[in-house]
Symmetry: C2
Subunit: 368 residues, 2 copies
């Protein structure tokens, strides 16, 4: 999450214009119109929810990957195995922003028919913010879940090697009159962007965020190089780093091992245009989607009223000294979206310049 | 996890004898023989796996709860809602050690029939170690998952109140020639027992473990009283405490809200014999069980070979300086079990004395 203060001096752009531009760019590069619209919607959902790292900032990179054929603009997505409540999908090296919605909708259909639906995905790529997918479930009286593995950047507890990605998991629960509870979290201690921000600010970082080339805690972000790694959630053994490592393992096994995708250190590198989507252990990145029908457990209305009550009780818990009290999972992103829908999306000058360059190079009008 | 060194001077007892004694005690108190045998098996699984807090040490308390009728020795467990892949169960205030296996087996049956099975449980009680249940799944070519909510002891990030339990989640994945990957973790930074141990040792505790009555980090375990709380996994905001709070919320909503059980601060207190299993928001504690059939996603043998490969690659990751390298989730508990099956279970003198007293009071032979 970034805050409004971080963007006080940055020009803001209307979400609709950015989304239309993104869709036009993707259509220009060969995506079918429906896929392009959906992919643009997911990218903008990230910017709207304040997760600047996963939205428009990534478009130039996706464009490059599409141009060189590293991403398949028009994948033939196949269901390779299926039961009433499960399936495995091969994404044909399409954009995760295209393959992800296909798989998520399949999980939702299965949940409507038999109570729950589970879809493992291989041969796919980065799918944007994990939280986008379960939020679609929550709009339909389903509890949704999404995970993905990712390029290796995180060391297991007691290792010095980058062995796993930030491997996020997201889950969303629909309420009645309250907004949904939306959990969307990396299983690493922090995102890589936090190291970069500390470096820019010339500040040290807490001991639980990263490890050096020897696997020891690293506190000077200036010395974080490609032999260093992020730490799992929890940091050291004393503060629960084994638990973050366990969660990242769970995500990697469900997304990578179970689907036939690459896993662990074999996951394709996001920023390496040379790397292939295949490795000796599988194909592409892996995702895992799930949906439970509320009605499979209790009347949907009853669940949503109960969740309203839960939300209100937690919101009213006594604040810790010096704080405004606990948030409900999803609050910060929801508040960011209210602001950004009203006032526009703040883009870093470098990102705005890259998008303007894209517009000129591709001959796709920059719609503002 | 406790280690062998912790128990160097403690007498050890054969697991078989303890298990038979436990079953006899439970039968004496009115449990059907099959239920008693299973409950004893689960309690001993905890001691065998080195989780001393959840095994024999709890038997005297269960006995007291059964004696005063706080636990129902012979519950009529009912399926109150069901679809092909989901169900909700009312445990009739039975022991979690009896209701849990019923629900877990229902999830397993559903997974065999339609790819996955999910069972929410209300009106139940503490079910022992969460890891026991998914391990049964892993023995049957299923991926298993179990969660439970628990008596409130943990403060949400930015709150000073005990609002949720240590809310563990467990998941197990079967491998081919390697032992299964077994994750079993509380979503709090640490278990309460860690505070107690630090108190005995006269040591301070890290800032991320607990908060004082005002919600500020607490480092002196001597001052931890019933107005203080454990911190969620991650500790402070800076080190990811919001993520541990999110995970604990996920467990509480799936186990408590979705099943019709009590949730959050309304969960019945384990050590308060006066407290009722019901509250204004629901009945008893809540569990949530899940199982996925490997064959629902890929050939079971292929998955298990792939997981062997994953395990071997992670085991061979470069050790961090001063460590022996990363463990595979489940390693410490598995190694404890090898030792304890061979050499017996070390019981703290107070626990051994309580069990001997139980034997005398109930007239149930102490089988050693």
């Amino acid at each position: 999450m970034t805050t409004d203060q971080d963007h006080a001096d940055v020009p803001r752009f209307a979400a609709d214009g950015l989304q239309a531009f993104t869709a036009d760019v993707l259509i220009h590069l060969g995506l079918p119109a429906d896929d392009a619209e959906r992919a643009a919607e997911i990218l903008l959902a990230s910017d709207l929810r304040g997760i600047d790292s996963h939205g428009m900032a990534r478009l130039p990179h996706y464009v490059e990957q599409l141009r060189i054929g590293r991403l398949n603009a028009a994948p033939e997505i196949r269901i390779v195995r299926e039961t009433a409540s499960t399936a495995t999908i091969d994404g044909d090296n399409g954009m995760g922003l295209v393959v992800g919605p296909f798989a998520n909708e399949l999980a939702m259909r299965k949940a409507r028919r038999c109570g729950s639906g589970w879809v493992a995905v291989r041969n796919t790529n980065h799918f944007g913010i994990a939280g986008y997918y379960p939020m679609r479930c929550a709009e339909n009286d389903l509890i949704g879940l999404a995970m993905t593995n990712a390029s290796s950047l995180v060391a297991p507890l007691w290792s010095a090697d980058r062995m796993m990605g930030t491997n996020p998991l997201a889950i969303a629960f629909p309420a009645a009159t309250e907004p949904p509870v939306v959990i969307d979290m990396a299983t690493s201690a922090v995102a890589f962007g936090k190291i970069v921000l500390a470096r820019y600010a010339g500040e040290s970082i807490p001991a639980g965020w990263a490890v050096d080339a020897g696997g020891a805690p690293l506190t000077d972000p200036q010395s974080f190089d490609n032999r260093c790694a992020l730490a799992p959630l929890g940091g050291s053994r004393e503060t629960g780093g084994h638990k973050g490592y366990c969660l990242a393992s769970m995500v990697d096994i469900l997304c990578g091992v179970l689907s036939g995708a690459c896993w662990g250190p074999f996951a394709p590198m996001f920023f390496d245009l040379q790397s292939s989507a295949e490795s000796e252990v599988g194909k592409g990145l892996g995702h895992f989607f799930g949906a439970w029908s509320l009605d499979g457990f209790m009347d949907a209305d009853e669940f949503k009223r109960r969740l309203d009550h839960w939300i209100n009780v937690f919101r009213q818990a006594t604040p810790a000294a010096g704080t405004e009290g606990p948030l409900i999972p999803g609050d910060p992103e929801r508040l960011a979206e209210v602001d950004r829908r009203r006032n526009g999306i703040p883009l870093a000058p470098q990102v705005a310049e890259q998008l303007a360059n894209l517009s000129a190079e591709l001959g796709v009008a920059w719609r503002q």
